[in-house]
Symmetry: C2
Subunit: 258 residues, 2 copies
């Protein structure tokens, strides 16, 4: 039987919005959260969490086993400098990029609990499909974070800070860059009065195939075919937009090299 934990959240952004109710749904307790803007109560999926006042940075009275730092990377350092945590509590950051060493100044047990997903919007996500990456400073913390992660998802990965760095780099290509290219595609369409919805099912099928096969093996299109006539026509169209021209050329060359 898996233990249930009290998990207090520091930071009331999108990650907390999604993670806190998922944690509770999995049987753990969220006794409250800390937000810089305590005047506005923190409402997640119709549940109101108790927000503690910003003035009180002494958290020693809070009955929590874990403190999850669901804040931006930049904010982690300030929090561990300013806050006082209960001695026996575990302090955990939820960042894909930050090293575990960032928590070094603390005497507490330490960990990283990183759900590999892009969080936004106000429709709760199904955590059972979201991989969670764990790192811990000691075996007891690793065991406990594993219990929490497996109560949310079947996809739990153990990566140290060094390997997590490469995961984050890969995620920049797969998430930020892919999003930007879809944005460019939509912009080209809008410029010619074509509804961007026209590419929706194509993009969805592209991603379905790319995540179920080796993308390099199933690649199609002018770059893959070495279809210079089409490539040159496209570059000519993009000529008045150096930004898009460069992206087109660089990725086309990269595809051709495979």
């Amino acid at each position: 039987m898996s233990s249930k934990y009290n998990i207090f959240f520091i930071g009331a952004g999108k990650l907390a919005w999604h993670l806190a109710p998922a944690i509770e749904k999995a049987g753990h307790k969220v006794p409250g959260l800390y937000s810089r803007s305590t005047d506005k109560a923190f409402s997640v999926a119709n549940k109101l969490y108790e927000a503690i006042p910003t003035s009180s940075k002494d958290l020693r009275d809070i009955p929590a086993d874990f403190f999850f730092l669901t804040v931006s990377d930049d904010a982690i350092k300030g929090i561990i400098e300013e806050f006082i945590f209960p001695e026996d509590a575990v302090v955990v950051h939820c960042s894909g990029t930050a090293s575990l060493d960032l928590l070094k100044p603390l005497k507490n047990r330490k960990g990283c609990f990183y759900p590999v997903q892009t969080f936004s919007g106000n429709v709760p996500l199904d955590f059972s499909t979201i991989p969670i990456v764990i790192e811990a400073g000691d075996t007891e913390t690793e065991k406990e974070l594993t219990e929490i992660a497996t109560s949310l998802t079947g996809k739990v990965f153990f990566l140290n800070s060094d390997r997590r760095k490469f995961l984050h780099l890969a995620a920049v290509f797969a998430n930020n860059f892919t999003n930007h290219l879809i944005g460019i595609a939509g912009e080209i369409l809008k410029e010619h009065d074509i509804d961007p919805v026209i590419l929706k099912s194509l993009v969805q099928e592209t991603v379905r195939k790319a995540t179920e096969n080796d993308p390099f093996e199933i690649q199609t299109g002018p770059a893959k075919r070495g279809d210079d006539a089409t490539i040159n026509k496209h570059l000519e169209i993009l000529n008045r937009n150096p930004d898009l021209w460069e992206i087109y050329e660089v990725i086309t060359n990269s595809i051709r090299k495979r």
Copy 2:
């Protein structure tokens, strides 16, 4: 009531594999198809289509209202030079890139019927979600192609060859380039013994969000934040791979300009 048509296919590649049975499911007839490799019977979704011999390029006896050219762009020219079609049949190419002018040498009525999707694999796709782009040389053909398209999908678009060119350029960004970036992400993971499945739900959610919002507005990540420390770390990691280094830099700069 919508008319039903006899539609003969020239070309037995992936597009015919998906489109022919969808056409029949919608109530039309596919009296047969032409394939360069007639020795192998053409089987689609467990149905065997009659293949006509390669030697016979006189198609005047074939009882078809439409001839759909489901071949590569390069092959279209040769087909319209070599084949003889029934006088009153409509000849239709299914290419996103080829201009309707490519069919000019024919005396037949002409059209383009372009399903905006990437076709591969052997799982039949649901055509009701696939946009179909139509162009016709005359209003009668446009009316008939619209009937065929709307019998397959609710998403029918009318674009002339010039605007279809921009659609195809946008599709290169949204499909080929996106696929390549997902390939790069997978490669970075594999190099560090991380299962690429770890990014699957992130990529799916990225695309869901990018197709339901303005991608530029919901962009996240180091480039959007102007997080130079992370960007420089990433460029350092990619330093030994000029190909990926260049893609990273060019797209990062493009994101920062928005």
